[in-house]
Structure formats: structure tokens, C-alpha cells
């Protein structure tokens, strides 16, 4: 196949393995070892992208993560991925790529009309306009025009993984200095990992001289491969450097079921051998396709055997580009001229270039490019040492490629992320690492060390102000579409600090994070404001160094592995019975268990009536269970609960309310004292962990003298609640060695015993208002107990019920539910505990907070029952209570409905709410307002318990 710019030989590609691919719908062929960018270049594709704002045609500019221009969308539908840099995409057979942000193609883009709007779109123009009639009128259009590629719209079918690594030394960058550092450390016996973002180690050795100080790449790789202490990860980009020498890297995987792997690397020492990034030269029309970094042209030549052009001009302000000129010529590529901005440079490489007959123009710099879309000629002028082009020195050279080198910026991103400070190096005219904060060192070009001096003369931008011609745009940031004029405008308007400059012009804010633009922007600003570049300052670099997929960041914590729901011991039994399982505090629990297509309402009605008239069972295992034992257990709990826990006798249960030190109700539950030194604390299911932590914190941090052990046992015991008038009858059939009679085992007591050999613990407590037992057996026996109860209770019509039925029953009974009847301001005195507090002499956690002026306020919201005046309307939960004079909002609220249900037992609605001074206002009428109700509902404040207010049934 025709690859017009491919050299016949050389490169690290495999010509025996052709790879077909498409770009913008056209078919091409490259080779194994190519990147998409090198293959496009080989095929002579010159316009490879469109710029972000103005849709100017752009070509391949770099060769790696620095690429600002060529962003592609790969694949389609669920496997589609936007915004990949073509220089980072390894070519595979069948690859489909499209340029982003253009339509229908990069070559012919209808959105290119934006080009002509550039004069009206200077930096920050949107702050000055779109004000009338309002931003809203313009925003949709602007949003649609912005953005680059398209997000996939289906879940990602691929998998991602994470690994942790703890090593003595992490080396980032597999070039010469990185390899040498890794080899040295491994030879000293240290555990070393070397990561490199490319598919092959070698860094610049892959395309620069193969022989340096006697260490050829082959030799280095050979030595490295023999070291068992050295682990190498290629295609692995270190992108984040965090506290305590923690570096995060992402590895591209191609040959397994995994797509990418995230590495968490904890290193004793980090060696940053990240090299340097060449920087462009800012001059008019420097964005034309065919303008490319000299180092990129060099990489394409050596790695991929691709000519960046057939007639190449090189523009530089330092020595490094001469090497490129020599190598290109040696490979048979015509180097038309080298334009060197320096007036009188002297170096061996320049002499060598001259000897080979390559034309060199000193004191010369490009002042424009020409061409219909890609470059066909470069215009240059004589420049003085400040980069000012001299009038009447215009020259034009035909070419199809202009390689530029404006100097080199050490890749200090990870160093900066580590917290290290940068300094401006006057010789390099670039930022280099100054002071380390973490255990880290930079080596090689990353530290500003270059093997041969660059002899650089600063050339921040070619100043064409003396030339009489219509101004053209000199691009500073190709990715963000920012020109020198934009920077000038920012400076004119006072946005001179680096951060203001960045934000006002958006320089450095694109997907390349300004890798080829940040330092030039600072340099250009320094010339505008007339201050040294070093004093303009630099921004801190933020992670990630290179964009990383969210898939890799998340790893396997997706789908079923994202916060899995906890399962009941009877989970399978519930599901096979058709239970509607919902998330209650992180547990999958049955909301209700419909039979034969019952509605939720009908199922709940049936379940409630079954419990009230006979017996029902519910898996109650998630309720928190914490054993608190030791000589001081009673003292600890007495201090932790509002209620008096010292007077609780062994074998008895007591309801307790726990509040925070801020006085706000935090949890409730039933505490059981098994013996003098052992309590079992019951918590709400959602707070089991939190209460354990809370007890531990007070025990270990405040009352360190107390002799107590806190032991969470929630998932050691399955609990089945057996409730209803026939509950005792059912339990008696289990054949336990426990006397269940009302006299021997009264309400609010607990007993332990056995079912056969199996230990069982029973608490006689009630959240339904019926005779009720909570029967605990070791967790793995929970399902068996459940099945046994169903079997034994067939004639009693034992009915499994769900949480929603339980809720209806506790609302009928006026029992509060923490988090529903309480919120972030509710104190124990608001829910009926004022008397209990008054009777307790001792301090407890949060007590002092209940005594503040706010705690003592007379008009606090208190928990009361609510009854619809019409006796029929179910009150809307979340509806607010307003005065009887209410007409329409806005209006002052006096509280709200916390719980509400239709009571199948009573045949009327029941409800509770928090109401200002509610306890004093029993009998008063109010209105419930809810935006979703057709009309306000009149209610009366009533006692909490609507069902069995005297509590006779639970004592039965």
C-alpha cells in the first residue's frame, strides 16, 4: 500500500505486519509499531484536526503526550473513547478514528466559519457580552459548539483493575537516566520499579544517538533484564504524585480481558527521569499543519521511519535542532534551510551541518507560513536579539514542513505535584526543580541536565510589529486556541498574574494541560510586561499528568462491586417467597412480601392484620448488636445513654436514647443486661458501626480508666422477630429450654437457652405493640430457624412480613424511628425524654448541650400524634404544619409530618409529626400543607399512640 512519506528502511516498526485503519472515514494502512499519528503522517495526511474555538485546520505537532492538535475519537458506541491524542494511540488493525470537534471531517469542516469570527472573539469576550437579554439565550448554542469528542452513551463493557506496590525505589521514565538510576539501585539490592509510558524503554535513546558515554540502549536493556530486583512496567504512565511518596500510575493493557490497570506505588525514594518537552516558537501563522516540533520530526524519523515532510525547514534558537537536520539529511530527507534566531552561535554541530551543505541563516526567524491549508512555504525575516523582525528583510522558502525548536522545558509536572518548588533557570530559560519536599530527586533532562549545552537564546515570540502588514495570529496555546494577541489583551486589562492570565485566556487548560504552551505564555507575558520571565511566576501543576480514564480510577468498584448490599441470613428465602427487597441502611431487606400479584397496599394490609390477629415473623438480624463487657460496663453505658443504665437489672431490657455531645438525638435501641458485667447494646441497623465507634472513642479517648471491652456482634447472631398474640404459642413449639410464660418471661426481659444444641437468646421487646420476641441464634442457623417457624406455624397462619408493615405498626403505636421522627436539631426533650433526664442526676454525653438557651426554648418542636379531622385523609409525609388561617405560600411553618400511614388495624389514617410546642397543644387544629396534595388537610394534634395506648397487648 502507498505510504508516501514512509522510508524504505529503518525505524522500530514491523513492515511485515500491515495494519489497516480508518481516519475520518478514509481507509489507510500503517505498520505494527506505528502510532496513529505516525501512520497518518506516513500516509501524507496533513490536516488531522480542528482547533477548539476557531476550527482552524491543524496537523500533527508532537509525538507523545504533548500533542495539542490531533485529538481523535476511537471506536463506536459503548467502546467509543473521545479525545485521545493520536500520538498516544498505538495502531492496531481495524482501528477506526475520527477527528473530534469538526463536521464532517477535519479536512473539510463546516464549523470553520468560526475562523472568521476570531476578531470578535478575543480572550474573555464572553465576559463582555451575551449580557442582554441574558446569558441563557446564548448558552445552549455555545455549549453545543464547545466540547471536543462525544461521550459514549452505554455502560463500559471493559474491565479495569488496581494493584498496590511497595518498593524501595520508583523510577519514572525509562530513558537513559531513568534506566541508569534503576539499574544502579537494583544492583545495590534495593527493590526497584521502573515505569515508562511508551511501549518500549529507551526514551530519547530510541530516536537520538544510540551511543552515549559508552552506554548503548541495548547494553542498558540487557543489564536491566538481568536484575531480579528491577521490575519494569511499560505503557505505564505515572500521573499523580501524592503525599508520603505515593505515586499513582496507569498501565495500558492490550492482550488480556483487562483494559487498563491502576498502580498505587508507595516508594521509599522516587527518581524522576521524565525528560524534557521541546517548546515551540511563537510567530504568526505558526499553527498551520506541517509545523511541528523538531523533536517530534526526529522521533517520526527514527522510531517510525516517517518523513515529517519532503522539503523541511528548521527554525531554532538553540543547538539541539541541528542534530535533527543532520539526521534527516542522512536519512535522505531534504533539509532546505535552518533558520537560527541567534546571530553568532558557535558549535561543532553547526559546523557539521554547514559541512553537509545545509543552508543556515543566522539572525533569522520565521515570520509567517503560507499554504492553502497545510504549509507550502515559510516566510522569514532577520531578527535582532530580542526577536524583533527587521523591516525589508523578508524572504520566502518553499517547504512542506517546518520543524521548530524554541528550547526545552524539563518535565517537572510530577515534581511540582510532589510539592517541590521550581526556579527559573536563566541558561535554559526554563523552570527546573529547586527544592524537594518529599523523598525524591530529578535526574537528566527533568533536572535541567542536558548532555550537550543548548546554547539557547531566548525567543519567546517573533515580534513582527516593525513589518508593514496586516496582523496575523501568533499562537501560544494550540490546544486552547490562544494567541499572543490574547495575552496582550489580558495584560492590557490587568490580568498579568500567571493565574489570571491562565484563567482569562484559558491558556494551558486543555487536554494537554499546556505542555507546549505554559512556559511560552509566561515568556511572552514577560516580554509584554517587561519583566524577567522568572519573576512572572509559574502555576502549580495538578494531577493528572496525562488524562486517565475514570474506569481505571474506579477499577473493579463498579456494578455489583460498588458498595454491595448486605444480605440477611434469610435473603434467599425472602427472595424466593417473592419479597420486594429494598435498601434499608445498607441491607437488602423485604419491604413487603406480596402474594399472587398483591399491590403494596394490599400486602401491607394483610401482613399487618396477620400480626395483629395472629403471628408474623420478620428477619430482624441487621439491628446492631454490641456486647459491652467488663467491670465498668454499666458505668460506660450510663454515661453514653440518656437513660439510667446503672439501675438496669440482669435479665432485663431497657430502651435507651443516645445523643451526640451536641445534644442531638443520634440513635436508639434496647439494651439488655445479661449479667452484672455484660450488656448487649441494640442499635438501629444503619448505625451499628457508628455506635461501636462512638463507644470505642469515648472509652479510649476520654474515660481511659474504665475497664470495658466493646465487641460488635451484629453478624454473629441472626434475629427473627416473632410478633403477635400467637407468638408465644409458636415459640413454644421450638422446644426450647426457656419458660416462655408471661409470669416467667415478662415484657422487657431477656432469656438465654437452647434449641436442641443450638444456643438461643430471646428478648421480649416490642416494636409492633404486640406480644413480641426477638429470637437470636448463631448467624448460620438463621435460615433454618425461619423455615422451622414457618413449618411449625402453618396452622397458626404464621405470616412473614416486611419493613413497611413493621413501619405501619410502629406508627399506629406511636413509636418513633430515629432519623424519621428526629433530625439534625432534635433533642431528647423534644421526643418525650425530659422527665427521664430530670430524674437522672449524673452527667451523660451531650447532657450539657440540652441545657443551652436553645435547648430550654419553650417553642421547640415536639413529637406528637396527628389525626386528620375528616378521619379519612392519609397525611402526606413531609407536609408542613401551618396555622389554621393558611391560604397559600409563603407561610410560616410550625413543623411537619414525620410519619403517616393508613392503619388497617384502626381503619383510619395515623400520623406523627414534630410541631412547635406540640405537647402543650394537644387538641389544637392545624393545616397540613403539601405541594403535592390537591388541597390542604385539617389536622388535630393528638397523643402519639393511636393503637392500644395503654400498652396492654405487648404485656400479654
Amino acid at each position: 500500500m502507498n505510504q508516501p512519506l514512509r522510508l524504505k528502511q529503518g525505524g522500530r516498526i514491523d513492515r511485515s505486519k500491515p495494519m489497516r485503519f480508518s481516519f475520518d472515514g478514509k481507509q489507510y494502512v500503517g505498520y505494527a509499531g506505528d502510532t496513529l499519528a505516525s501512520a497518518l503522517l506516513a500516509n501524507g495526511v496533513r490536516v488531522t484536526g480542528r482547533s477548539f474555538k476557531y476550527h482552524r485546520p491543524r496537523g500533527i505537532f508532537g509525538a507523545g503526550f504533548e500533542e495539542p492538535n490531533t485529538l481523535v475519537q476511537l471506536g463506536s458506541s459503548a467502546l467509543s473513547e473521545p479525545n485521545l491524542k493520536a500520538t498516544q494511540v498505538e495502531l492496531i488493525d481495524g482501528l477506526e478514528a475520527r477527528a473530534v470537534n469538526c463536521w464532517p471531517s477535519a479536512r473539510f469542516d463546516l464549523m470553520a466559519v468560526f475562523r472568521w469570527l476570531k476578531p470578535f472573539m478575543p480572550s474573555g469576550f464572553y465576559y463582555k457580552t451575551f449580557i442582554w437579554p441574558s446569558w441563557h439565550w446564548f448558552e445552549a448554542v455555545i455549549r453545543a459548539a464547545a466540547g471536543l469528542g462525544q461521550s459514549p452513551q452505554q455502560p463500559d463493557p471493559d474491565h479495569y483493575d488496581k494493584r498496590n506496590l511497595s518498593v524501595d525505589v520508583l523510577v519514572v521514565g525509562g530513558g537513559r537516566y531513568g534506566l541508569e538510576a534503576a539499574i544502579k539501585a537494583a544492583e545495590e539490592g534495593r527493590d526497584v520499579v521502573l515505569v515508562d509510558d511508551k511501549s518500549q524503554l529507551g526514551g530519547a535513546l530510541l530516536y537520538e544517538h544510540q551511543q552515549l558515554n559508552g552506554n548503548s540502549l541495548v547494553e542498558l536493556l540487557d543489564r536491566a533484564s538481568k536484575l531480579s530486583k528491577l521490575r519494569v512496567l511499560t505503557r505505564c504512565t505515572a500521573f499523580g504524585y501524592y503525599d508520603h511518596n505515593h505515586v499513582v500510575a496507569v498501565e495500558m493493557l492490550s492482550d488480556s480481558g483487562l483494559r487498563q490497570r491502576l498502580w498505587h506505588i508507595s516508594a521509599g525514594e522516587v527518581v524522576l527521569a521524565t525528560g524534557a518537552i521541546e517548546r515551540p516558537i511563537v510567530f504568526p501563522n505558526n499553527d498551520r499543519p506541517g509545523v511541528m516540533l523538531a523533536s517530534a520530526g526526529r522521533q517520526y524519523l527514527h522510531r517510525y521511519a516517517v518523513m515529517a515532510g519532503r522539503q523541511i525547514v528548521i527554525a531554532t534558537n538553540n543547538d539541539s535542532a541541528y542534530e535533527v537536520a543532520l539526521e534527516l539529511q542522512a536519512a535522505g530527507v531534504k533539509v532546505v534551510a535552518v533558520l537560527d534566531a541567534r546571530t553568532n552561535p558557535d558549535a561543532l554541530v553547526i559546523a557539521a551541518t554547514r559541512e553537509r551543505g545545509i543552508r543556515i541563516e543566522f539572525g533569522a526567524a520565521p515570520s509567517s507560513t503560507r499554504g492553502s491549508s497545510a504549509i507550502s512555504a515559510v516566510e522569514w525575516h532577520r531578527v535582532d536579539t530580542s526577536g524583533k523582525a527587521q523591516a525589508d528583510t523578508s524572504n520566502v522558502i518553499d517547504c512542506d514542513c517546518l520543524l521548530v525548536s524554541g528550547g526545552w522545558n524539563p518535565t517537572v509536572h510530577l515534581f511540582s505535584q510532589s510539592g517541590g518548588s521550581l526556579r527559573f533557570d536563566e541558561i535554559l530559560q526554563a523552570f527546573v526543580p529547586a527544592k524537594s519536599v518529599q523523598k525524591e530527586r530529578s535526574v537528566g533532562a527533568a533536572a535541567g541536565t542536558f548532555d550537550t549545552p543548548l546554547n539557547l537564546q531566548p525567543l519567546w515570540s517573533v515580534d513582527v510589529s516593525l513589518l508593514k502588514r496586516t496582523p496575523n495570529y501568533s499562537w501560544v496555546d494550540l490546544a486552547s486556541d490562544v494567541t499572543e494577541g490574547d495575552l496582550r489583551l489580558a495584560a492590557r486589562e490587568g490580568f498579568t498574574s500567571v493565574e489570571h492570565l491562565k484563567r482569562y485566556t484559558t491558556t494551558g487548560m486543555m487536554t494537554d494541560q499546556g505542555k507546549t504552551s505554559n512556559v511560552n505564555a509566561i515568556g511572552v507575558m514577560s516580554t509584554i510586561v517587561g519583566r524577567p520571565a522568572g519573576s512572572v511566576g509559574t502555576t502549580k501543576f495538578r494531577p493528572p499528568f496525562n488524562p486517565v480514564t475514570f474506569g481505571a480510577v474506579v477499577g473493579q468498584h463498579v456494578g455489583a462491586y460498588y458498595q454491595p448490599l448486605r444480605r440477611l441470613p434469610t435473603d434467599e428465602l425472602q427472595r424466593s417467597a417473592g419479597a420486594v427487597m429494598e435498601d434499608y441502611g445498607g441491607w437488602a431487606r423485604p419491604a413487603y412480601i406480596p402474594i399472587k400479584g398483591e399491590s403494596e397496599h394490599d400486602a401491607i394490609k394483610r401482613e399487618v392484620c396477620a400480626v395483629r390477629a395472629g403471628v408474623g415473623i420478620v428477619d430482624y438480624s441487621p439491628l446492631g448488636k454490641i456486647l459491652v463487657h467488663g467491670p465498668d460496663a454499666a458505668t460506660l453505658l450510663h454515661r453514653m445513654y440518656v437513660n439510667n443504665m446503672k439501675t438496669l437489672k440482669p435479665g432485663f431490657c431497657r430502651y435507651g436514647v443516645m445523643i451526640g455531645e451536641d445534644g442531638i438525638v443520634f440513635d436508639d435501641g434496647v439494651l439488655t443486661r445479661w449479667d452484672e458485667n455484660t450488656f448487649q447494646v441494640g442499635t438501629t441497623s444503619g448505625h451499628a458501626e457508628r455506635v461501636t465507634e462512638w463507644l470505642e472513642e469515648w472509652l479510649q479517648c476520654e474515660w481511659v480508666d474504665l475497664d470495658v471491652i466493646v465487641e460488635p456482634v451484629t453478624t454473629q447472631w441472626s434475629v427473627i422477630m416473632v410478633a403477635g398474640p400467637n407468638a408465644r404459642q409458636l415459640l413454644q413449639r421450638l422446644g426450647m429450654d426457656i419458660d416462655l410464660s408471661a409470669e416467667a418471661f415478662p415484657h422487657m426481659t431477656a432469656r438465654s437457652g437452647h434449641i436442641g444444641d443450638i444456643p438461643v437468646r430471646i428478648m421480649r421487646v416490642s416494636f409492633t405493640g404486640e406480644l413480641s420476641y426477638e429470637v437470636s441464634v448463631p448467624w448460620s442457623y438463621g435460615a433454618a430457624l425461619w423455615q422451622q417457624l414457618l413449618k411449625l406455624g402453618t396452622d397458626l397462619d404464621v405470616t412473614p412480613f416486611g419493613l413497611e408493615s413493621l413501619m405501619v405498626m410502629r406508627i399506629e403505636k406511636g413509636f418513633l424511628h430515629v432519623g424519621t421522627e428526629t433530625e439534625g436539631t432534635t433533642m431528647p426533650q423534644d421526643i418525650g425524654f425530659a422527665e427521664i433526664i430530670a430524674k437522672k442526676a449524673d452527667d451523660f454525653v451531650g447532657r450539657r448541650s440540652t441545657m443551652t438557651p436553645e435547648g430550654m426554648r419553650r417553642d421547640r418542636r415536639q413529637l406528637v400524634g396527628l389525626a386528620a379531622v375528616d378521619g379519612a385523609t392519609v397525611l402526606p409525609v413531609g407536609g408542613h404544619l401551618v396555622s389554621a388561617e393558611f391560604q397559600k405560600p409563603p407561610h410560616k411553618t410550625q413543623g411537619y409530618v414525620t410519619s403517616s400511614a393508613w392503619s388497617p388495624t384502626l381503619g383510619r389514617p395515623v400520623a406523627m409529626g414534630l410541631v412547635e410546642r406540640g405537647r402543650e397543644r394537644l387538641g389544637e387544629s392545624l393545616i397540613v400543607y403539601s405541594a403535592r396534595s390537591p388541597k390542604p388537610v385539617a389536622v388535630r394534634i393528638v397523643e402519639l399512640a393511636a393503637y392500644d395506648p395503654k400498652g396492654e397487648r405487648l404485656h400479654g
Binding site: A78, G147, L148, H246, T511, G551, V553, E582, G878, K892
Partner: protein
């Protein structure tokens, strides 16, 4: 210099070479009527409203670095007024109303984008809490609307409704949305400057001039400045500055992270908050998907994030928006939030005479920028608290009258 499409067109003819600085850069004087420490949105807005409503123009805003460089430029730009308690509702709704006229008032496009702010409800309990909040908002005169899953499917097609945290509905404030953070600082700065206030960047306060229990000025790296009244609006540095004046505050500072994806074409329409996953997500006008979550877990003044939080928040994001797995994280940053117990601000005079506080907004100060400025200007000018901030005084920590929005609505603020 008035900004408009016409002014841009005219200036285009001269290559945009005639624009004037958006604000001056004066040398600090030795004395002002009011010194505002902190050139963020709140401080600049305070200066602006002092001039506009109270005729007080002998004002300096002292900024250690560059204006808008603190939390103003480091947040997720959410604007909303969906609050539960009447005290908060009144304050934040005032702010919302000011936002709605702000671009015109300042002649600076702050890009208020009322795309709607959506709070999801993932279970029955959250549905009940959402309805409680919705009715509270209605009674407070604030727009809110309950959306069923079918409505949500239309508004946010990429949102997963049947995942680990199913979506049973959502509370929408249509007037909620976002604004351009930098523009808020720059717009207020330009407005304050036009009225004569001095905006002084690179001026770090190093101490206070005190006589007894009275602050009568500040010491800075550019000399002492006398002022009858000093206002502290330095979110992220409040404890440190207050300590210089001898004041201890109920504040702990934490890093709050946010991050963006690479820009993509429109895919997220509203601002979505998912209480169970703890994430919020929106898309910037530029096309970046913007994601935030909870605070980093320990006190910090480091304006850099912790990767653990990024992993947790991203996992929540992919749970709700599974298609975004192949989008790429482009930039991560953190702001320092001054967190108080009840997640409501501290606004008004301090126990030290002459020293006023605007702090404690925690994670939610950006949306309050206009109201914070308006009410603090009133308080500084008249010596009396603006009625809207009476409940937000420092005394509430002693009286116990906290305004715990997070606790009340169950939704992180």
C-alpha cells in the same frame, strides 16, 4: 468602559488595543474607612455594595495573592437556594435573586446558567426527606418541583435509575445552576473599582493594629493601614487571620476536591446531586464534566487533593453515570473549606470591636457571594447586622441556636 457586543466589534477594528484595565492597581493608602481582607468574591462584593448602597468608597480590599484565587476560583460553581430552614432560605434566596440580575448590574457576564439543580432520592426515606424539603421551600417562597423517574429520564438521559442506588425521584430547583467563578470576582472587582474602592493585590496581612479590644487597622507586607472597620473574608485562612487578632473560632479547615473530565459535547444537562453516592456532577459550558464529592478526611491547608477521595467519588459517579467510564479525568484540584458544626456561615461583628467576620461557609460559600457581600456591606456601613444575617452570628454557638441544614434535610451542603 462599558462592555457590550458593540464595544467588542468596535475594538476589533483596532485589534483590541484600546481596552483599559478592568480595575486599577493602586498603592495602598495609610488609612481607609473600611479594610476588607480577602479579594475573593465575598470581599469584592462587600466593597462593591458598600459603595453602591452606602456611599462608602474609601475602601480597600487587600488580597495576599491575586483576586479570586482562593475558593472563589476553586469550587464547583453551584448556585441554588434549596434550603430547609427559613433563616437559610431567606439568605440564600436573596443571593439567588441578586445572581439573577448580576450580569446586567455589573455589566459583566457572570454566566449565570439556570440549568436546574436536581437532588436525587434513592430510597423511601430520601423521598420523604425531599418532600419535606420541597414543602419547606414552597412555604419559604422558593421554587421547587418533584420529578418522577420518567421525568428524570428525559432531563438526564445518562443517569442510571436502577443501579445500586435506584432513583425514586428527584427534587428540582429550576432556578438553580451555575455561574462562572472567575467572572464573579472580576465583575465585582471592576464594579468596586469603578466606584472608587482600592483593590490591592499582593498585599498580605501580617497582623492587626489593636488598642485594647478594638482593631484599628492592619499590618501588611506593604505597610500599616489604619481602618475604622476591618472585615475578614478569607475563606480557607480564617482561623489563622483571626488568631492574629486574638480570636479563636469554631472552625476546622478541610480540603474539598473537585475534578473535571476532558471536554465532551453536551451530555449532562443539570446539576445533579446524589445523596447516597455523595457525588454531584454537572457539565461546564466548555464541555468538561465537573465532579465533586465529600471533604477529604482530615484537616488540611494543602490546596491539593488526595487520590483516595478521587477514587471514591469517581466510583459514585460511574454508579450513577456508567457511560462515563471511558471519559478521562483531566484536572484535579482542591479548595480549603472552613467548616463549622452546623454548616451555616458566621456573618457579622466579632467579639473584637471593629472586626467583622464573613466566614464558615464550609463547602457552600460560592452561591452566597452576592448576599454575603450585600449583608456584610450593610453591617459594616450601619454598625447593625443586616436582618438576613441576624441568625448567623457567632453567638449561636454559645446559645446553641445552630442552623443545621445538613442535619435537617439529610443532604450534604
Amino acid at each position: 468602559m462599558r462592555y457590550s457586543a458593540l464595544s467588542i466589534a468596535i475594538n476589533a477594528l483596532s485589534g483590541h488595543s484600546n481596552w483599559k484595565p478592568a480595575w486599577r492597581s493602586p498603592e495602598p493608602k495609610s488609612s481607609y474607612d473600611v479594610v476588607i481582607i480577602g479579594g475573593g468574591g465575598h470581599g469584592l462584593a462587600t466593597a462593591y455594595y458598600l459603595a453602591k448602597y452606602h456611599g462608602i468608597t474609601n475602601v480597600a480590599v487587600l488580597e495576599k495573592g491575586w483576586i479570586g484565587g482562593g475558593n472563589t476560583g476553586r469550587n464547583t460553581t453551584v448556585v441554588r437556594s434549596n434550603y430547609f430552614f427559613p433563616e437559610s432560605a431567606a439568605f440564600y434566596e436573596k443571593s439567588m435573586q441578586l445572581w439573577e440580575g448580576l450580569s446586567r448590574e455589573l455589566n459583566y457576564n457572570v454566566m449565570l446558567s439556570q440549568r436546574g439543580h436536581l437532588t436525587l432520592a434513592h430510597n423511601r426515606h430520601q423521598v420523604e426527606m425531599s418532600l419535606r424539603l420541597m414543602n419547606a421551600m414552597k412555604l419559604n417562597g422558593i421554587d421547587s418541583e418533584w420529578l418522577e423517574p420518567d421525568d428524570l429520564r428525559k432531563r438526564e438521559p445518562q443517569l442510571r435509575l436502577d443501579g445500586r442506588f435506584p432513583v425514586l425521584g428527584g427534587l428540582m430547583q429550576d432556578r438553580g445552576g451555575s455561574a462562572r467563578h472567575d467572572a464573579v470576582a472580576w465583575g465585582y472587582a471592576r464594579g468596586a473599582d469603578e466606584h472608587g474602592a482600592h483593590i490591592i493585590q499582593g498585599c498580605e496581612v501580617t497582623g492587626f493594629i489593636k488598642q485594647g479590644n478594638r482593631v484599628s487597622g492592619v499590618r501588611t507586607n506593604r505597610g500599616d493601614i489604619v481602618a475604622a472597620k476591618v472585615c475578614l473574608s478569607v475563606a480557607g485562612h480564617t482561623s489563622e487571620l483571626a488568631a492574629m487578632a486574638g480570636l479563636r473560632l469554631p472552625i476546622t479547615s478541610y480540603a474539598l476536591q473537585a475534578f473535571v473530565s476532558e471536554p465532551v459535547k453536551p451530555i449532562v444537562n443539570t446539576m445533579v446531586l446524589s445523596p447516597s453516592t455523595g457525588i454531584y456532577i454537572s457539565q461546564t459550558d466548555k464541555g468538561e464534566v465537573l465532579i465533586g464529592g465529600g471533604l477529604d478526611m482530615y484537616p488540611s491547608y494543602a490546596q491539593r487533593g488526595n487520590f483516595h477521595t478521587v477514587e471514591t467519588v469517581s466510583a459514585g459517579m460511574l454508579e450513577m453515570f456508567p457511560a462515563f467510564s471511558r471519559l478521562r479525568l483531566m484536572r484535579q484540584w482542591a479548595g480549603i473549606c472552613d467548616v463549622v458544626k452546623d454548616s451555616s456561615p458566621i456573618l457579622g461583628p466579632s467579639p473584637i470591636d471593629g472586626l467583622y467576620l464573613n466566614c464558615g461557609f464550609g463547602t457552600g460559600g460560592f452561591k452566597a457571594t452576592p448576599a454575603g457581600g450585600l449583608t456584610m456591606a450593610h453591617t459594616l456601613a450601619t454598625g447593625k447586622r443586616h436582618p438576613l444575617i441576624e441568625p448567623f452570628g457567632l453567638e449561636r454557638f454559645t446559645s446553641g441556636a445552630l442552623i443545621d441544614e445538613a442535619g435537617a434535610s439529610g443532604i450534604a451542603h
